[in-house]
């Protein structure tokens, strides 16, 4: 399974660029190492994502004009840095299989010097907010509401337990990510 869902590939590449300018190839390699697992990113997707980031002013090209795409070195802009910070601070909408996006956020927070615990706390708050809403709906609802809300609540609870365990292992993960 690809660790990073389509939505966050751009943010993942941007976050990796915070470590310094890189060629598209290097970027793909670090991405695959950290998030690609058994499904590496296609070159086409790397370059199309970089082209989009370039168009949006989130990265700039550092190489001399005329060089082929594979020789271009990409650097993150100030706007790109703010974009990553904004993405890390914004909790995700609670939904199943969120752990892949959250894992990416935590690793990138550690790589870019943001507080990874803040990412987890923001997400916990968002999950709890939804759990409160579902609890109210369940307690005031009929049996069908109760069963449906319970299902969602158990899944959100599982996510929260994952957030807790990740928070407890954050030092370990930081040491590994920075090694």
């Amino acid at each position: 399974m690809c660790i990073v869902l389509g939505m966050s590939v751009g943010h993942a590449l941007l976050g990796l660029l915070e470590g310094g300018p890189r060629h598209g190839y290097d970027l793909k390699r670090s991405y695959d190492e950290r998030f690609g697992q058994d499904r590496p990113l296609a070159y086409g997707q790397v370059y199309s994502t970089l082209a989009r980031l370039l168009r949006n002013g989130l990265v700039e090209v550092e190489s001399e004009p005329g060089a082929g795409p594979e020789r271009k070195k990409y650097a993150i802009t100030d706007a790109g840095v703010s974009d990553v910070a904004g993405w890390l601070a914004q909790p995700e909408k609670p939904e199943p299989y969120l752990q892949s996006t959250l894992y990416t956020k935590v690793v990138l927070a550690l790589l870019t010097g943001h507080d990874a615990a803040d990412v987890l706390d923001a997400q916990r708050a968002e999950h709890l907010r939804l759990m409160r809403e579902l609890t109210r709906r369940r307690d005031g609802g009929d049996l069908a509401d109760q069963l449906i809300c319970d299902h969602a609540l158990f899944h959100l609870e599982a996510d929260l337990r994952w957030l807790e365990v990740t928070a407890a292992r954050i030092q370990q993960l930081a040491a590994q990510v920075r090694a």
Partner: protein
């Protein structure tokens, strides 16, 4: 303008020997609000609850209740305050095993000087409110875990406290019994406009709160996201 909080902890520090239990912990609770203190085992959440309730004395920092500095009070004064204005629910083992459930609930009123008859009438009403009238004349050991916890909630609320402190109140119960206890507990607390400070590591229990404060390594992570 937002009203003053009812209960505030400011920059609490507390160490047990060389172990730091609380490190600049600050938190506030408003009247009628349910605050969940969450965090892993050993994070300091129960210690923080005990400081807020005036059971433990912090090495540094201040606990203020309704404008009064709890940390500067004499022990007797603090004990009197705990009896008259605070209620407590723990995980288990808080009822007197030799007394019936009704007598257990009536006990705080009796200690406060109420007549036996008035205390028992009030206790019976609370048992009914918590849907455990059927165990009124049984001893705690003859009731189920869920019934026992509801009796404990009735006993905590019978004096109409302004703050109820609950430390893992459903920790010993299964999901459905735990849920029913929380439903009845929070509904009753809201009815009497009592504030609740709830220590729990269970998200489904914390979902009954209005806000959460996460305690980690003796520090309180902000709850600004919950606003």
């Amino acid at each position: 303008m937002a009203p003053e909080p009812l209960l505030t902890a400011e920059n609490l520090h507390l160490s047990f020997g060389t172990a730091t239990a609380l490190d600049s912990a600050s938190v506030e609770v408003h009247a009628g609000e349910v605050l969940a203190l969450m965090g892993p085992s050993g994070s300091g959440k129960s210690t923080l609850l005990h400081c807020l309730a005036g059971i433990l004395h912090p090495d540094q920092g201040r606990v203020t209740y309704a404008g009064r500095d709890l940390t500067a009070m004499h022990d007797d004064e603090r004990s009197a305050l705990r009896r008259s204005e605070f209620g407590f629910v723990f995980q288990f083992g808080q009822l007197v095993p030799e007394l019936t459930c009704l007598e257990n609930v009536a006990l705080p009123l009796r200690l406060g000087g109420a007549s036996r008859r008035a205390a028992q009438r009030s206790a019976a009403a609370w048992l009914e409110r918590l849907e455990v009238s059927d165990v009124a004349h049984k001893r705690p050991g003859q009731a189920s875990g869920g019934q026992e916890q509801r009796v404990a909630v009735a006993r905590a609320l019978v004096t109409r406290p302004r703050v109820v402190f609950a430390d893992e109140p459903t920790g010993a119960l299964d999901t459905l019994n735990g849920e029913r206890v929380m439903q009845l507990f929070v509904a009753a607390a809201r009815e009497t406009a009592a504030a609740v400070v709830l220590v729990t590591h269970e998200p489904r229990v914390a979902a009954y709160s209005d806000h959460e404060a996460v305690v980690r390594d003796g520090r309180v992570r902000t709850r600004e996201y919950a606003r």
